[in-house]
């Protein structure tokens, strides 16, 4: 039935003003919808890894839109270009808008340089979920991991993002940790930036490559015109 139906709608979605983001729906409406998302995806897969991947995909789609929306609304069309900047953007701004609170913690991994963790005692999507024994390590937080990945990827910081349960002592329910492992190119560009900052501090500013190039072009042109 492709192409059947009425002519294109009259009003363009872009003509509408962007919502302020203050509207709310009940938590149960979201929980019902999310449970349908999980149940539907369960019928499409054979194993847990595949299920997590599909939830992550769904989250990714949300994340990429959230980045666009929030950069526009909260940050006056500016986007974070630093690693720590974007991480704290996810941890505070994104979390606050989506889940109504700042994430419980943002930590740097101790074993690897390029790993970061966002932890949440009771992640919204895991609130009404209990995992059956036969589903092992499955974590619905994969959806949130997808959101984080969607935000980071589209901001130019490609990363592998996964969700894990971490038991806390004296608590019945484990907390959820979103583990972010940045791709190699991210740490390289960060180190290059650090070197640049260092050289600048020593007053040895290498100058931007473009300005060197521009100077060469100007010189050549001056020679030609003589």
């Amino acid at each position: 039935m492709i192409g059947v139906g009425k002519m294109k709608q009259y009003s363009n979605v872009l003509d509408k003003p962007l919502s302020k983001g203050k509207q709310e729906v009940s938590l149960s409406a979201f929980a019902f919808l999310f449970s349908e998302l999980v149940q539907y995806n369960q019928t499409q897969v054979d194993n847990i890894a595949e299920l997590e991947r599909r939830l992550e995909d769904a989250g990714y789609a949300v994340g990429s839109r959230v980045l666009e929306l929030l950069c526009n609304r909260e940050k006056g069309n500016r986007r974070e270009t630093r690693l720590l900047g974007i991480l704290s953007f996810v941890h505070s701004t994104v979390w606050k808008v989506l889940f109504g609170k700042v994430a419980d913690s943002l930590e740097k991994g101790t074993e690897h340089e390029d790993e970061y963790m966002i932890s949440e005692k009771e992640l919204l999507v895991n609130r009404f979920i209990s995992i059956p024994k036969d589903m092992g390590t499955f974590n619905c937080g994969a959806f949130v991991a997808g959101i984080v990945k969607g935000v980071l990827d589209n901001a130019g910081f490609p990363a592998v993002v996964t969700a894990h349960f971490v038991p806390i002592e004296g608590q019945q329910r484990p907390r959820t940790t979103i583990l972010i492992k940045f791709a190699d190119e991210v740490s390289i560009s960060t180190s290059l930036y650090m070197i640049y900052l260092y050289l600048e501090k020593l007053n040895l500013s290498p100058g931007l490559p473009t300005s060197i190039h521009a100077a060469q072009v100007l010189k050549r042109e001056a020679r030609l015109s003589q």
Partner: protein, 186 residues
Amino acid sequence: MAPVGPRSGDAIFSSIDRVNAELFTLTYGAIVRQLLTDLEDVDEVNKQLDQMGYNIGIRLIDEFLAKSGVSRCVDFKETAEMIAKVGFKMFLGVTASVSSWDADGTCCSIILEDNPLVDFVELPDTCQGLYYCNVLSGVIRGALEMVSMKTEVTWTRDALRGDDAYELQVKLLKQVAEEYPYKDDE
């Protein structure tokens, strides 16, 4: 907390936990997109959305009854008003109105003034046959079935398809006598 008597939709909505509507909207969008990729056919997607709504409806009615304190409605007219004034408000935070009753009071229209599902949405040319909000009709059908009412719910106006509002037609097919819950074909 034992609910005493019916409470207004506003009162319930302000007392329960809520989430940002954008998370809800975008998650719904992700579901629809996933279905479109998987099923590749707009009609199949409409069916699946309706089925999802039905699954939600049969569970949601419990929460509705528990939190609203509504007792048995005397007729279908009251039922429709309850859905529009309490149901929509309590779950989606929006109000709806009921109109266009037929002569014998078994068929009416529920008109949504505001619809949190469709923020940021525009149907591309390839999806013009899609009933984007079909999940809602499924929810109403499922919920009413759990209170012994077989209904048929169809979209009569859809702003995404160029109409000026969102309008659902709810038609009472028959009222079933009390019976044990059974599983619909899955």
